[in-house]
Amino acid sequence: MAISPVAETEYKGSAQPEQGQQPTLSVRDLVVEIPTRRGVLRPVDRVSYDLAPGEILGVVGESGAGKSMTGNAVIGLLDRPAHIAGGEILLNGKRIDNLSRRDMRKIRGKEIGMVFQDPLTSLNPLIPIGDQLAETIETHLNVSRTEARKRALASLEEVGIPAAAERLDSYPHEFSGGMRQRVVIALALCAEPSLVIADEPTTALDVSVQAQIIALLKRLCREHGTSVILVTHDMGVIAEAADRVAVMYAGKLVEIGPVRDVLTHPNHPYTDGLVGSMPAHSHGQARLRQIPGAMPRLNALPEGCAFHPRCPKAQEKCRHAPEPELMNGAACWFPVGEDA
């Protein structure tokens, strides 16, 4: 299945995909809360987005912005005491946020695959990779052991493990980091899910193999028509792989839109700051622009727009008015470029 062109061109700064086509994933006003002794934290606050079939959505933001929490909420793997406190999650039109543990388990791995950051710790060190693949396949697809082994081999070949047949019985420690992440990707995709959540899939890898892994993920998802949520704090990865980009700040979605538009004409001052800190966009300046200050902690969010203490465009309204809603692609009272 080829990637739909929808994501790349059709809508400008809208959180909605093309009319009439059912999104693979639809997140509606998602709220994740963590009760603590000093009150309730909201690491994810009314986040909404849709993901078209075959689309790659990049999610960026500084560490602690709530990117992983959003992904974990979608796949139903929030660690206690964090929990979904509001909103809806629809996968291929079916609500999945209110499923029983048992039903949710059946969706994990089968309809939603996940790739974690560190391939060195993602694989069980005591079990050969072929067995880890086969057990996943057997769990979700009604096939025999031999058939599962056969498919395990096929998926290892697909992710480009050399001499895959001989490597089925190898243990994780016998592979390099890049090869292990390929195995992890094979595990995430072996039951042909319609959605893959890749949470910083290249952050722990050697720079030399990062591009290969991103290219592999992109190719496989295009070939299988899989939608991807690609979480990263690296704008370069987004530019390379994503169709659309969602920018998160302090638990909120502050900007969403097609990658090309967002990278060339960011609307939200925070996105502008992130884009400005990319090497390719600093136009030969010796020093990259950095956003001053740090993201506020969840228990000390400023009044009004949460970005205002760091925002070069902040005005009186930003400090006191209720926080701006996401409209026309950005959650900001004074979007970049409007006054230019």
């Binding site: 796949i75 969706i107 994990r108 791995g109 974690f116 069980n124 005591l126 996943t136 992890v184 595990l187």
Partner: protein, 326 residues
């Protein structure tokens, strides 16, 4: 692999030599066996004669060397008290101790792992919390007190189980007597086995629990869940296996400890095993019996250690560095 085993065996022999040396030098402080062996009307000449006969007049290194030479041939000398070969006496007593240790060990390992896994998986449940609290009692009560409590409840008050001895035994083959084949023999095993195994069981349980909790937080467990594996597969195929790697060492050493600590249990229950033999030997300064017992216990520990290392090898592929490395 073979080189590794040979190296380990060589190390083990050195350990045994040192243990023997330490044990032997300690005996000189226990007392003079000659005092016990001769009656009140002994003369200085009697004492000298006996000393020469036993080889006690020889310098210490010579005594030690003689002992080692004999031990290597399976000859541990003659008991001062019983006048019979030590090897025979120990062979008679060994089945009682080994059967007791076996039942305790099986009890400690199976119950320890089962309860450890249970309390880790259900760590917020009421049952798990009650078990954990009780286990504190198991760890802190001394063995003899547990034995006496059990005797009081089940033998004295309820009168359902015997309080001492092995019950009826059956001779199997030339050397072995077993209590497994008679009802009274099995009944007699229950209280001593619980007494002996309880401490090890709680220890293994607490260790399995904490290791399991640690493993359950690991990334690959999270990833196993993200792959939609069943709770059963996550807990048992993935988590338990990784938990057992560090647990094996401690468990192995605990098995050695079970046989060593059998001394106390055997005393409380008048269990006719090697532990009781050793206690009686101390009272009589029966050096050949004491020396043989200590050597056997050290051989046991060293062997268990070796087996534990090899098991490690079998379980954890990362240690198999021979051959293919990527």
């Amino acid at each position: 692999m073979l080189a590794y085993i040979i190296r380990r065996v060589f190390q083990s022999v050195i350990v045994l030599l040192v243990v023997g040396l330490v044990a032997f030098s300690m005996f000189r402080f226990v007392g003079d066996p000659v005092d016990n062996m001769l009656g009140q009307e002994r003369t200085q000449a009697d004492i000298e004669r006996l000393r020469t006969q036993l080889g006690l007049d020889q310098p210490f290194p010579v005594q030690y060397f003689r002992f080692l030479k004999g031990a290597a041939e399976g000859n541990f000398g003659v008991s001062y008290r019983q006048g019979r070969p030590v090897a025979t006496i120990i062979a008679e007593r060994a089945p009682a101790t080994l059967e007791l240790a076996f039942v305790s060990g099986v009890l400690a390992i199976t119950m320890g792992i089962a309860l450890g896994v249970f309390t880790a998986i259900r760590r917020r449940g009421a049952a798990a919390n009650i078990i954990m609290t009780l286990s504190l009692v198991g760890v802190s009560l001394p063995t003899f007190l547990i034995g006496i409590l059990l005797i009081y409840v089940f033998a004295v008050e309820l009168g359902v189980l015997p309080s001492f001895g092995r019950g009826e035994t059956v001779r199997v083959g030339e050397f072995w007597t077993t209590g497994f084949l008679t009802t009274s023999g099995l009944q007699a095993l229950i209280l001593p086995a619980i007494t002996l195994g309880l401490y090890q069981m709680t220890l293994i349980m607490r260790l399995v629990r904490s290791e399991m909790l640690e493993v359950l937080r690991a990334d690959y467990i999270r990833f196993a869940r993200a792959r939609g594996l069943t709770e059963r597969a996550v807990n048992f195929r993935h988590a338990l296996r990784n938990t057992l790697v560090p647990v094996i060492t401690v468990t192995g050493l605990q098995l050695g400890a079970i046989i060593a600590f059998a001394i106390i249990t055997e005393t409380v229950f008048q269990w006719p095993g090697v532990g009781l033999l050793f206690i009686n030997a101390i009272q009589f300064v029966d050096i050949p019996v004491m020396a043989a017992y200590l050597m056997l216990i050290s051989v046991l520990f060293v062997t268990i250690n070796l087996i534990v290392d090899l098991l490690y090898y079998a379980i954890d592929p990362r240690l198999r560095i021979d051959g293919r490395t990527a």
